[in-house]
C-alpha cells in the first residue's frame, strides 16, 4: 500500500487531534518515555542546527537588516508543516512559516509541481498568509532516500520590496497596489538555485536589489544548512526515531502550554482594552483619502477554560484603515505564537502551543479581518496593530500568574515599536532604503519583583539588539551624536518599566535623504497602555528633528552640540539648535516633508516599557538611586512618587525617608478628597458621551465601526452608559 499523500496525512492528523485532544493522536510520548536522554539530546541538536542556519544565513545575507540586525529566522518542520524547532531571531514567524507549508500542501503542490530536494518555495503575499510583503517566507522540502521527511524554512525582512514608498515599514500604503512586489505561493527555484526570472524580477521591481538578492541567498544558505545537517542526524539516530520524535516535540510543547496554564493560571474571563493611533491628517501621504486621523480599537477578551485551553476574542475591533495596517486572521493567529511563546509556552518553542488556544474569527471588515469586505486593503506593516493587541498577553497572563502566587513570572505592559528608516543617497554615493533596527532594544516590562531592564528587550525577538552604531554609520549617512538612556521613560510605579533610549543622529554625507519615522506598533496621540495595578503609563512616542540647521557653525566654533533630549519642558534641541524647520514633539509616524540634508538632526526615542503598582509605594532608596544615576527627575520623585528630597550637588540626591512616608500619607488623603464615587462620575460622563464632548472625530469613527462590526459589543457599551438603543457616535 502506498503512503498517504501529505494532504491526506494533514487531514488525518487534524481528525486525530479533534478526536483525542492530542496532536497526531499521541496520547503517550513513546520515544520520550523509552529513551528520554536521546530524546532531549536530539532536541538540542535540532535546535542547534536551526541556530547554525541563522548564523550561516545572516552571514550570507547582505542587508543591514539581516546581517547586522538579525531580523530573520530559520526553522525545521515536520512533513506536514508543524514547526519542530526554530533558530534565534524573529519569533513572530514560525507560525506563519508552518501555515505556509500547510497551504502549499492543501493547495495540491505535492502533485504539481511536486516537492523535491532543492526546490525553493516562497510567499510574501498577505492575502495568502504572509504578514507583509517585506517579510519573504521561504521553505524547502527535505527528502531522505526519496521520502519527504521534513521541511526547512526561513524568513528575512528585506530592505525594500518596491512599495509605493521606499523601505519596508509600509504604513503609508493606501491599498494593496502600493504593497510592492509579491510572490504568491510560488516555486521560485530548484536544485538549490533560484530561477533566473527571480533575479530579474527583483532587479526590476525593488530599489535595493543587491540587498534583496543577498538576503535571498542568505535564506537559501540557511535552509541548505538545515537539510545537510539533518541528514547527519538521521544517519546517526535513524529515520524512524527522528520522524517520531519530531512529532513528539510538538505535542510535548502543546502539553507544556496547557499544563502551565493549569498549574500557574486561573480559569475565568479576562479583559483588556488597548488603543492605537495613526494620526496622518495634514501630513505627507500618498493618497487624498489618507488625510485623516485614525484610532484603532484593539480589545482582548481571553477565556481560560476548565480544560486549561484558552480562547481569545477580538470582539469590538474597529474597521479597516486606508493605510498599511490591516492584517489577515491567518497572519494574526500565527503572529500570536510570538506573544504566547514569550509568556506561556516556551519550553520547546515550536507549533505545539498553537493547538492549546483558539482565536475567534475577528469581526469581518475590521483591521484584523479586512479582506472579506475590503479585498484590496493594505498590509504594508500589518504587524503594527497586531503586535499591540498581542502584547496584551503580557499583562493578561501577568495578572493570572500573580493570582496564583508566581510573582517571578509577572510582567507589566510592553513597550512600543517606532521605527527609523532612511531612503536616499548614502555617503558611498549609492541609493539605499533601510531600517536602522534602533527600535529592537526597548526597556523591558516591570516584573512582579523588580524593575524592568533598560534597553534590553524587544517584543518580536528574544535577541534584543539595536546593532553597533559604527556599523550603522557605515551603511547610512548618519553619525551618532548620542545614544542615551532616556530618564523616566518606563512609567511611574512601584516597579518601573525598563527605560528606553534616545538616538541622536546628525545627517552627514548625503545629497538628501528621507527620514521615515515609522509605525510598527507605536502610539503618539494616546498613552501607550493602561497603568497596571495603579501605575502611570509611559508617555506617547514623540520624536524630534531639525532641518537646515546651524550645527555646522556650532562644530566649527567648537560649541556644545546636542547629545540628548533634555527635559520635556526645556528640550535640548530648541535650546541649542536653530533651524528653518524644527519639530520638538512631532506626532509620529511621518516622513520628513523635505529630504534631510547634511548637519540636520534627528532625535529618535525608543520607548521604555510599563510599570506596575502604585507610584507612592516605590522603594524610596530605589528612587534615590535613579536620581543619582540621572534616570529620574526630581519633579517625578517629589510630585509622583511623593518623596521629600534634598539635593547636595548635581548627582547627589538624598531622600528623607521619614518625611517621605508622611508626605505619602498626605497624598493618600488628598486622593480620597479629590476623587468622586464612580457612580457620580458615571452619571456626568454619560451625558458628555451623549453630547460627544471633547471627542476627536478619530475616536467617534472608531466607536462607530467597532459597534457596527460587533453588534454585541455595541449593545454592551450602550448598556454600560445607559444610552438609547439608537445612539450612534
Amino acid at each position: 500500500m502506498s503512503e498517504p499523500s501529505l494532504k491526506e496525512q494533514l487531514a488525518a492528523y487534524e481528525a486525530l487531534f479533534e478526536k483525542t485532544g492530542h496532536l497526531y493522536g499521541y496520547e503517550s510520548l513513546a520515544r520520550k518515555e523509552s529513551d528520554p536522554g536521546t530524546y532531549e539530546a536530539v532536541w538540542h541538536i535540532l535546535s542547534n542546527i536551526c541556530n547554525a542556519a541563522w548564523s550561516v544565513g545572516c552571514m550570507a545575507s547582505t542587508s543591514p537588516v539581516a546581517a547586522e540586525g538579525g531580523d530573520a529566522l530559520w526553522a525545521l518542520h515536520t512533513p506536514t508543516g508543524d514547526a519542530i524547532c526554530v533558530s534565534r531571531g524573529i519569533t513572530a514567524h514560525p507560525g506563519l512559516l508552518a501555515d505556509m507549508i500547510k497551504n502549499f500542501i492543501r493547495l495540491g503542490y505535492e502533485d504539481h509541481p511536486g516537492f523535491e530536494n532543492g526546490d525553493i518555495f516562497e510567499n510574501n503575499d498577505p492575502h495568502y498568509g504572509g504578514i507583509h510583503t517585506p517579510d519573504f517566507d521561504m521553505c524547502m522540502p527535505i527528502r531522505y532516500k526519496g521520502k519527504l521527511v521534513a521541511w526547512a524554512s526561513s524568513v528575512t525582512h528585506v530592505n525594500d520590496v518596491g512599495m509605493a514608498q521606499p523601505g519596508s515599514i509600509g504604513f503609508l500604503n493606501p491599498n494593496v497596489f502600493a504593497d510592492g512586489l509579491t510572490f504568491s505561493m510560488e516555486k521560485v527555484g530548484e536544485s538549490d538555485r533560484y530561477y533566473p526570472w527571480y533575479d530579474l524580477r527583483i532587479r526590476s521591481r525593488t530599489r535595493t536589489p543587491d540587498y534583496v538578492l543577498g538576503d535571498a541567498r542568505g535564506r537559501l544558505a540557511g535552509c541548505i544548512t538545515i537539510r545537510e545537517r539533518l541528514f547527519e542526524v538521521i544517519e546517526k539516530y535513524g529515520l524512524d526515531f527522528i520522524l517520531d520524535a519530531s512529532k513528539e516535540y510538538v505535542e510535548d510543547s502543546r502539553r507544556y502550554a496547557v499544563s502551565r496554564v493549569r498549574t500557574q493560571a486561573i480559569p475565568g474571563r479576562i479583559r483588556k482594552s488597548q488603543f492605537k493611533d495613526l494620526a496622518m491628517k495634514g501630513k505627507r501621504v500618498l493618497d487624498p483619502s489618507q488625510d485623516i486621523d485614525c484610532l484603532f480599537n484593539l480589545p482582548m477578551e481571553m477565556t481560560v477554560n476548565a480544560d486549561a485551553t484558552v480562547k481569545l476574542s477580538l470582539r469590538g475591533a474597529s474597521g479597516t484603515v486606508p493605510f498599511g495596517q490591516n492584517i489577515s486572521p491567518t497572519a494574526l493567529k500565527s503572529g500570536l505564537l510570538n506573544g504566547y511563546s514569550h509568556i506561556v509556552g516556551f519550553d520547546m518553542f515550536n507549533s505545539g502551543p498553537t493547538a492549546s488556544w483558539e482565536v475567534e474569527m475577528p469581526p469581518s471588515g475590521s483591521w484584523a479581518n479586512p479582506f472579506e469586505k475590503d479585498f484590496f486593503a493594505s498590509s504594508g506593516v500589518a504587524w503594527a496593530p497586531a503586535v499591540i493587541w498581542m502584547s496584551s498577553l503580557y499583562e493578561v497572563f501577568g495578572r493570572l500568574f500573580q493570582m496564583r502566587g508566581f510573582v517571578e513570572e509577572m510582567a507589566a505592559g510592553a513597550a512600543t515599536t517606532m521605527t527609523a528608516e532612511f531612503a536616499g543617497q548614502t555617503q558611498l554615493g549609492m541609493y539605499l532604503a533601510s531600517l536602522t533596527l534602533e527600535q529592537a532594544s526597548n526597556g523591558s516590562p516591570a516584573r512582579g519583583y523588580a524593575d524592568g531592564e533598560n534597553s534590553a528587550w524587544c517584543i518580536y525577538t528574544p535577541n534584543a539588539d539595536f546593532g553597533s552604531a559604527e556599523v550603522i554609520e557605515g551603511y547610512l549617512p548618519i553619525m551618532y551624536l548620542g545614544r542615551n538612556i532616556e530618564p523616566d521613560s518606563g512609567g511611574y510605579g512601584q516597579f518601573r518599566g525598563g527605560l528606553g533610549h534616545t538616538a541622536v543622529w546628525m545627517i552627514y554625507g548625503t545629497t538628501g535623504i528621507d527620514y521615515q519615522c515609522g509605525c510598527a506598533g507605536m502610539r503618539s496621540k494616546v498613552l501607550p497602555n493602561h497603568g497596571m495595578y495603579g501605575a502611570y503609563p509611559t508617555w506617547p512616542d514623540r520624536p524630534s528633528y531639525a532641518h537646515d540647521t546651524n550645527l555646522k557653525e556650532l562644530i566649527d566654533a567648537q560649541k556644545p552640540l546636542i547629545h540628548e533630549r533634555g527635559p520635556a519642558e526645556d528640550p535640548t534641541i530648541t535650546r541649542i539648535i536653530t533651524a528653518r524647520q524644527m519639530e520638538d514633539a512631532a506626532i509620529a509616524p511621518f516622513i520628513t516633508p523635505e529630504p534631510l540634508q547634511n548637519y540636520d538632526v534627528i532625535l529618535h526615542p525608543v520607548s521604555g516599557a510599563q510599570s506596575m503598582g502604585d507610584p507612592i509605594t516605590r522603594d524610596p532608596i530605589s528612587i534615590e538611586e535613579d536620581l543619582n544615576k540621572g534616570w529620574t527627575s526630581r519633579r517625578v520623585a517629589e510630585e509622583i512618587h511623593g518623596l521629600v528630597v534634598k539635593q547636595e550637588s548635581e548627582r547627589d540626591f538624598i531622600v528623607d525617608v521619614a518625611a517621605s512616608e508622611k508626605r505619602r500619607q498626605q497624598i493618600r488623603a488628598e486622593r480620597i478628597a479629590k476623587a468622586v464615587p464612580f457612580k457620580e462620575w458615571w452619571a456626568v460622563e454619560r451625558t458628555k458621551i451623549e453630547a460627544r464632548e471633547n471627542m476627536d472625530e478619530a475616536v467617534l469613527h472608531m466607536w462607530r465601526t467597532s459597534m457596527e462590526l460587533s453588534p454585541s459589543y455595541g449593545e454592551e457599551l450602550l448598556a454600560f452608559w445607559a444610552l438609547p438603543d439608537d445612539f450612534v457616535f
Partner: protein, 182 residues
C-alpha cells in the same frame, strides 16, 4: 518538584530576595504549594479576618464573607460582589484636560485629551491607587478578571468550595439599577 521557604517567597514579593535566589526560583520547576503559601502570606498582611479565596491584584482580594464572595482591599474596604466590576464601587479621579494631565505628563509627553483620558481608581478606605486606565471617552472600564472560582477550586485544586456560585458578569445589573434610579 521544587519547594521554597515561605520567608523567601515573602522576600520575592517585596523585591528584596537576592538575585541568585530569585534566579533559582525562576529556573526551578514550579512549587505546587505556591498558591497556598501566597494566600498564607497575604492573609497575614491584610487587616481583615475573612478567608482570601483569590488575590485579584496585589491590593485586592476575593474573600469569603458570611457566605458571600466579595472583593476587599488590603485595608478592609469592601467593594461588593466579585461578579460586578469592583471599579463601580471605587472612587475615581479622571484627567481629561491639559491642566490635569499636565500634572503627570509635561511638554512633549502630553497625550491629546480629545483622544484619551486617564482614569485613576482610588480605594475609599486607604487612598491606594488601585488601577489606572488610559482610554478614549466612551470606553467602559475594563472588568479585568471574572474568575471561575468553583472550577478552579474543585477541578484544578481538587478541593471544592463549600458553596457554589454561577460565574456570571453582574456589572450591567448594577448599571441598570443606577439607570432606573436616574
Amino acid at each position: 518538584m521544587a519547594e521554597f521557604h515561605k520567608a523567601d517567597i515573602e522576600k520575592l514579593i517585596d523585591g528584596v530576595l537576592p538575585w541568585p535566589a530569585t534566579q533559582d526560583i525562576i529556573k526551578s520547576p514550579k512549587d505546587s504549594d505556591r498558591f497556598d503559601k501566597y494566600i498564607e502570606i497575604m492573609q497575614e498582611r491584610v487587616t481583615f479576618k475573612e478567608t482570601i479565596l483569590l488575590p485579584l491584584t496585589p491590593m485586592l482580594f476575593i474573600v469569603s464573607a458570611d457566605g458571600a464572595r466579595v472583593v476587599k482591599c488590603r485595608c478592609g474596604h469592601d467593594f461588593g460582589d466579585y461578579r460586578t466590576n469592583w471599579k463601580l464601587s471605587s472612587l475615581i479621579h479622571v484627567r481629561d484636560d491639559e491642566a490635569s494631565l499636565g500634572e503627570i505628563y509635561k511638554g512633549r509627553e502630553m497625550p491629546d485629551p480629545s483622544w484619551t483620558q486617564l482614569r485613576e481608581y482610588i480605594c475609599p478606605g486607604c487612598g491606594s491607587q488601585l488601577e489606572v486606565e488610559a482610554m478614549p471617552r466612551g470606553c467602559p472600564p475594563d472588568f479585568e478578571f471574572l474568575p471561575d472560582l468553583d472550577t478552579f477550586y474543585s477541578e484544578w485544586l481538587g478541593r471544592p468550595l463549600p458553596d457554589s456560585v454561577a460565574s456570571e458578569d453582574k456589572t450591567l445589573e448594577t448599571i441598570a439599577d443606577w439607570s432606573a434610579a436616574k
